[in-house]
């Protein structure tokens, strides 16, 4: 009988559920995709129901139920943190301690209560995991490596902010750690906050802004804010940070150091923010490489697995890859806390079964392309469209691909909805908005008319894996869009500047995906892992000679990536996309009737 293990992350940010059984990942999904609340931190009931339904089981059929971290250890850290906060910590403490007493300190009991309230059978006792071990398990166990160094870097778990593990077969052993408050993730979040973006969701915007700036403050950061040591360890000078006091990331001293106040959210970005972004990016990259060097020295391994929120920093990952410290690097696509749900379930499965995950023949790892969410067949889709009175054409796959490729080649922007939804923050060709990267207007059009987001933000390419080296300087495969690589010089053009004023300059023959520093966050698409998206890329290449497409997430700014055909249709109708492809059903915008009874969605969806 299959032993199923459920993993749950909840209550802080990016709640998720994941189900593992019989040596494979059965299902995984973030709660936000169901609740439509971005980075939803609530109990992931919908995600849990989805996971159980995928396996055709009930709660009572689970062998283990696992919460991703230890709430009591986390409470200990919170209290210790406030014990160094001084008088300024009192206002936050008055609100935070009652919350911990009421429920946070016994989060596993709360999970048990919420599971019981689901009325889906009698569940086993909820076990607690450990935050960084959950990250480490999510990074090592699905990787293709029999042995590896595992590096996990985030804001903070219970106490650990950075951990190095040694993975060997089924064993995963902690080699060393750096503990709170000394945190690379919190350093990056502090700058995210200071540049006027939201903490825990705006970090990748800071990363995207960095190439527009110059790292003129890097020395100041190293001299004042973070001490990077030769052994790879680091510490923060807490005199500049405000997060101990629980209300702000940084204090007045931080602002005085840079001679400027914090940027007001949504106010105009200046070159100053770009330079700050470039500076902290440079120092963060140095720190990550130092940690990776330490991981190699501590474990003696030539392969590296990465997880933790900082592992979503694709620029640092790209530099790490080019540093040549390791022969291969594998990064968990859901490297943030959602991935902890997967990790804690995987840990149980591996320890109890005594074996690693199966890798599907032809695939490189056990993540199944991170395509672990719900899918909808053509009959479901057609039924929805009929119900909405939405004109569409239903084709066989070949004609659908041909039609889609034609629209793309003519400059159309296409909403592409296929198969199982991705797990993790990136769209990988299941819930994607795609377009022609050669089109000089594509970046501007997509940012302003479709995503409704800041115009500086670059778009990322999906490329046939076998053709990636023709376009990008790839040191390793990048199936999950987590490594930034340079666009090859032969495609690039001379440009005059790199500041914010150069946003609309045409930098290469693939202008929509070439960032201001001629880099790109590449997704290599493999036939074995994502066959249909691969076929679409091939068809586009047949028509245009270009095996690359813009691939951006199927959502507008502030909204989670779409999950259902209805959400995809609504997003399509609210934006300036030209075509929507739902399975084998193709919809053209000009044929559609106006969206009825729509809400004032731009006011309803909070900006991220």
């Amino acid at each position: 009988m299959t032993q199923y293990h459920l993993g749950i992350s909840a209550f802080y940010h990016d709640s998720a559920a994941a189900l593992v059984g019989d040596g494979r990942i059965v299902a995984a999904a973030q709660q936000e995709r169901f609740s439509r609340i971005r980075h939803d931190s609530g109990f992931p009931e919908d995600a849990i129901r989805y996971c159980l339904a995928t396996a055709g089981i009930r709660l009572g059929d689970l062998s283990t139920i696992n919460y991703y971290e230890d709430p009591k250890l986390k409470l200990g850290r919170t209290l210790s943190s406030f014990a160094s906060a001084g008088p300024a910590g009192l206002p936050a403490f008055r609100h935070i301690l009652p919350e911990w007493i009421r429920w946070k300190g016994r989060a596993t009991d709360v999970v048990a209560q919420r599971l019981k309230a689901m009325n889906d059978g009698v569940a086993v006792k909820v076990l607690k995991g450990a935050h960084h071990r959950s990250h480490a398990a999510s990074a090592f166990y699905p990787s293709p490596f029999e042995r590896a160094a595992v590096l996990c870097v985030d804001g903070v778990g219970e106490w650990h902010t950075t951990t190095i593990w040694h993975g060997k077969g089924r064993d995963l052993t902690l080699a060393n750690a750096i503990s709170y408050p000394h945190s690379l993730g919190l350093l990056y979040s502090a700058f995210t906050y200071f540049c006027g973006f939201k903490v825990d969701s705006g970090e990748y915007k800071l990363m995207g802004l960095a190439p527009y700036g110059r790292p003129i403050h890097a020395d100041k950061i190293r001299d004042n804010l973070i001490e990077l040591r030769d052994d790879g360890s680091f510490s923060l000078n807490m005199a500049y940070f405000g997060f101990l006091q629980g209300q702000r990331m940084v204090g007045e001293r931080f602002a005085r150091l840079f001679g400027r106040p914090r940027r007001e959210p949504e106010s105009e970005l200046t070159q100053g923010e770009c330079d700050l972004a470039a500076s902290v990016q440079k120092v963060t990259t140095e720190a990550v490489i130092g940690l990776a060097r330490a991981a190699k020295a501590m474990t003696g391994e030539n392969r590296l697995c990465l997880a933790g929120g900082v592992a979503l920093n694709c620029v640092a990952n790209g530099e790490l890859s080019r540093a040549g410290l390791f022969d291969e690097i594998w990064i968990q696509p859901a490297a943030g806390d959602a991935g902890c749900a997967l990790g804690v379930a995987l840990d149980q499965d591996v320890q109890r079964s005594g074996r690693r995950l199966q890798i599907v023949p032809g695939q490189h790892d056990a993540m199944r392309g991170a395509l672990l969410g719900p899918s909808y067949d053509d009959d479901d889709i057609a039924s929805f469209l009929e119900g909405r009175g939405a004109p569409y054409r239903r084709f066989g796959e070949d004609r659908m691909l041909e039609t889609t490729a034609e629209h793309l080649a003519k400059g159309g922007v296409v909403g592409w909805f296929q198969g199982r939804m991705e797990f993790g923050p990136r769209s990988l060709g299941a819930r994607s908005i795609i377009g022609d990267p050669r089109n000089v207007e594509m970046q501007k059009t997509m940012n302003l008319k479709i995503k409704f987001r800041e115009s500086f933000r670059p778009f990322a390419p999906a490329v046939l894996a076998e053709k990636a080296d023709d376009y990008f300087d790839m040191r390793q495969d990048s199936p999950y869009m987590l490594v930034v690589s340079p666009v090859l010089e032969k495609w690039c053009r001379e440009t005059s500047e790199r500041g914010l004023g150069s946003i609309n300059e045409v930098r290469s023959q693939l202008p929509a995906i070439t960032h201001v520093d001629n880099s790109a966050r590449v997704q290599t698409v493999h036939e074995e892992t994502n066959p249909q998206f691969h076929r679409l890329l091939r068809r586009f290449e047949d028509k245009t000679g270009c095996p690359v497409l813009v691939n951006t997430s199927f959502n507008v700014r502030g909204e989670p990536i779409v999950c259902t055909p209805e959400e995809a249709y609504t997003c399509f109708m609210r934006t300036n996309m030209d075509v929507l492809v739902l399975g084998n059903c193709v919809l053209v915008k000009n044929d559609q009737p106006p969206l009825e009874n729509d809400v004032d969605w731009r006011n309803e969806i909070a900006l991220d």
């Binding site: 943190s81 014990a83 001084g86 403490f93 000394h182 052994d231 101990l244 020295a297 501590m298």
Partner: protein, 48 residues
């Protein structure tokens, strides 16, 4: 009520601990920790 109890707890227990840590620099939150040669939780001995 819990909020009031938390405040009292903070003033009577946390502030003295904070003061002690500040004066003697004995915790990982203080400047003395920041000045250490290494901040790994376990000592390391390798050349990187």
């Amino acid at each position: 009520m819990l909020s009031l109890v938390s405040s009292i707890f903070y003033i009577l227990l946390f502030l003295p601990v904070w003061a002690f840590r500040r004066v003697f620099g004995v915790s990982r939150f203080e400047r003395r920790f920041h000045a250490r040669k290494s901040t790994w939780d376990s000592p390391v001995r390798f050349d990187t």
